[in-house]
């Protein structure tokens, strides 16, 4: 594993929802401060569970997870570093306006009230949705809602931003534009981003490093550095080449969802010891 200072450290992480079967089978990974890391894995392997542990939503069975040196599984919520979370669906409160959705997280983060207005304006403008500040979320398009969700994650000055397949429900054109915008934002903000996806092309386009997981219960299959310089083009032949390499490597391990070639441990859930 590359020595990245370990801003986020995950060691021997196992998770079980029912106490019998593992959802994560032992994850070790590390993310440096300001790194953009993609977590790549097949559908249902436990990628989202990994983010839920990092955000404190799910307690692991074993292992240790630290963000900026704070153990997020054992430390009280108020002592944990702030985490911005962009969900697969926007998860905006439909009965609050766009601006109010942002103000709520600012209030919850304990930021002074006299800063809220400027922050809301700044981050909505940054995501090019400032004109929708007073709109109800249900009146926005999918892409606009996801931008609000990203603005919400950024507005609280998070130590880390967790993104769970945030563009998977968007159309191709909107998705590409959002990815490009995300890279620009990340370069401005320099926050650590852990971006979960099952799209290899998305991972190679966005990330500095890709953590490839096995089928569930997931373990780390391999960690790859993406050496392609930025700015990157989505159709860059070097990314296509890297994508092909990854496909070749994971083909045998991921297999097919309908029961094709899969590793023995992925055929049935791993029993908890």
């Amino acid at each position: 594993m590359r020595d990245d200072g370990g801003f986020i450290r995950v060691e021997g992480l196992t998770v079980s929802y029912d106490g019998e079967h593992l959802a994560l089978g032992g994850i070790d990974m590390s993310v440096g401060e300001g790194d953009f890391v993609a977590v790549l894995g097949p559908s249902g392997c436990g990628k989202s569970t990994l983010l839920q542990v990092l955000s404190g939503l799910v307690r692991p069975v074993s292992g240790r997870t630290t963000i900026a040196g704070t153990d997020v599984t054992n430390e009280s919520v108020s002592n944990r570093p702030r985490v911005g979370y962009v969900f697969q669906d926007h998860r905006l409160l439909p009965w609050r306006t766009v601006g109010q959705n942002l103000e709520l997280v600012l209030a919850s983060a304990g930021l002074p009230k006299d800063e809220w207005g400027a922050r809301v304006e700044r981050f909505l403008d940054m995501l090019q949705i400032g004109q929708h500040r007073d709109a109800w979320p249900m009146r926005l398009s999918g892409g606009q809602r996801q931008r609000v969700s990203i603005a919400r994650a950024l507005a609280i000055d998070p130590a880390v931003i967790l993104m769970d397949e945030p563009f998977s429900t968007l159309d191709e054109v909107t998705g590409r534009r959002m990815r490009q915008q995300l890279v620009e934002l990340w370069q401005q903000q320099q926050r650590a981003i852990v971006f979960v996806t099952h799209s290899i092309r998305e991972a190679v386009y966005l990330a500095d490093r890709i953590v490839i997981l096995t089928r569930g219960p997931a373990t780390v299959l391999e960690t790859l550095e993406v050496g392609t310089p930025r700015p990157r083009q989505y159709e860059d032949p070097r990314l296509t080449e890297l994508e092909s390499e990854i496909v070749a490597r994971v083909m045998e391990v991921w297999g097919y969802e309908d029961g094709g070639a899969a590793t023995p441990e992925s055929d049935s859930p791993m029993e908890l010891a």
């Binding site: 998860r91 109800w136 892409g143």
Partner: protein, 268 residues
């Protein structure tokens, strides 16, 4: 680019409210006209339905009679008060039922029992238990309406969006902020639906209970007029009942509902 400008929140709900009002007004007018036609036919064919013109002639003196307003106010206060009690009890019952544990199952049995209890029987039982008292009216109305409110709110509790709860946890809303911004707003549509559905029911039960249990209110005045065979006065109280019931529903409840749910309008 997908960010085509869409209308903001401001005037949209007002436009929709105006459209809904026009639609309500049209169908309301249709209902009134058909009612008048039936009334006309009834008054020509039987002697138990007073002629329309006699009733219309009596309206000015009826409205200027000071004694009617306390009775209308008394009925209205009973409906609102009893619905408030039923809502509080229904909320608690819905919460217990949604949790599904022992007390939830016990509550469900009570809800099943009361939902099948005819309002007339409930009114007579209240008369036996509370004699002729104000408490009896409240109890009857609360018993008649609470199970429906409880069942509607239970659906709300069961449909609670866990994903929004996760979002609230990640962003550290805390219990009070989550309650105020996630849980309660989620229940608002269910509460409004329950109250609007039960409002008319509560009116019917209040009037029924007033026939038996108290010496005030629209129901009591209705029975007084009926006992003395004052058919024009019976018709006037019947009209008063309808005007107050429909007036408060269309002029108060529906606008409140439209305003409270204005965030729902318009999908892309």
């Amino acid at each position: 680019m997908e960010t085509a400008s869409l209308p903001l929140s401001g005037p949209g709900w007002r436009r929709r409210a105006a459209a809904a009002f026009s639609s309500d007004a049209f169908f309301g007018a249709l209902g009134v006209l058909s009612f008048i036609a039936l009334w006309y036919v009834g008054s020509r064919r039987t002697e138990f339905v007073p002629p329309i013109d006699e009733v219309i002639d009596a309206i000015p003196s009826f409205l200027t009679e000071e004694a009617i307003w306390p009775d209308i106010g008394a009925s209205l206060a009973r409906v609102v008060g009893a619905l408030a009690v039923a809502s509080v009890v229904g909320f608690g019952a819905a919460y217990l039922m949604a949790r599904g544990r022992f007390w939830g199952l016990v509550t469900l049995r009570y809800v099943d029992l009361t939902i099948g209890l005819p309002s007339t029987i409930a009114a007579l039982l209240a008369l036996f238990i509370f004699k002729r008292s104000e408490v009896g009216v409240f109890v009857v109305v609360a018993i008649a309406t609470f199970p429906f409110i409880a069942l509607t709110l239970r659906q709300g509790f069961l449909a609670a969006d866990r994903q929004l709860g996760d979002m609230a946890s990640v962003y550290r809303f805390g219990v009070a902020r989550e309650l105020r911004n996630v849980s309660i707003p989620h229940l608002v549509p269910y509460s409004l639906a329950a109250i609007r559905n039960e409002y008319a029911h509560a009116w019917r039960v209040v009037v029924l209970a007033e026939l038996f249990a108290v010496n005030s209110g629209i129901g009591w005045r209705f029975s007084q007029a009926f006992d003395r065979f004052l058919l024009v006065e019976v018709a006037l109280w019947l009209l008063t009942f309808m005007v107050v019931l429909l007036g408060t529903e269309y002029m108060v409840l529906r606008p409140i509902e439209r305003w409270a749910l204005r965030w729902r309008g318009g999908h892309t």
